[in-house]
Subunit: 142 residues, 2 copies
Amino acid sequence: MEQKRLEDIDLELATLVRRATAAATDKKLGTLERSAYLLLTQLSAHGPIGVKALSEQFRLDISTVSRQTAVLETKGYIQRLPDPTDGRASNFQITELGMQELQETKQARLVRFSKLFHDWSEEECRMLGQLLAKLNRTFIDE
Amino acid sequence: MEQKRLEDIDLELATLVRRATAAATDKKLGTLERSAYLLLTQLSAHGPIGVKALSEQFRLDISTVSRQTAVLETKGYIQRLPDPTDGRASNFQITELGMQELQETKQARLVRFSKLFHDWSEEECRMLGQLLAKLNRTFIDE
DNA sequence: GCATTATAGTTGTATTGTGCAACTATGTAA
DNA sequence: TTACATAGTTGCACAATACAACTATAATGC
């Protein structure tokens, strides 16, 4: 692989992350933070799951996920179900309120992205989505 | 533009940023932080420049850039040149030491990216670099 | 059955990266 | 020369993360 191409990708990615971090700090898109958005998205798609399993899926430290669930539980967006087979563990489930919140945030983000990508071609969007997905899979194996 | 595609991109991007944030927290690639890497890269490519102009180029708050330059100046990676025409302003220039540091970090990052992308095709890398660049330009106009 | 070890989760602490607001010092314009 | 504008710094707050120390429970070995 050519050095130039990889350096290119490196710099573009670093720039992208800087931009995204800055954006996350000031403007709240919808009301959910990025971390909460991703967590609720996961819970909306799959059954009840515990902190440990989540931390493995997300490849985050278990303490990080523990804090995230704590926040969402306090807000009433997720519900803690004690694990009947293990007294140490709990499983979390998204609530109706959490679903509403997720829907609103999703909608707000969609509006933003629609504006952002309005002059991108269908094909470019398809490619971008595909390559980002591959990139995320690539990071998993790291 | 189809809703599904945009939601896809949204989620993949959010996931990517989460991964990148996590990676930045523990593993230091080379010795420079991401923010310092980008700042030094800019200074290595262009002439002396002040905090205000940098903050506009990067679209970051001037206070954020001020802190970044302060750190790099302390480490001796950049040098402050008082602006002869404006007593309030300074311009920064990368030093030899800064150049060395940048080179090392660049090399370390290249090694990592070479491994990461070893099973990507040339064409995929080209497309990814191109689309990320376009994406970054897209965020500029936001 | 008890002692040891392993595991799920929480909490304290630290770090990176960011923005806003208040401030200082200097420059510019009325 | 007084008022306003601008470059930069610093105090504070916050999101997101990891690591280490801890608690409570489970599992294992004997």
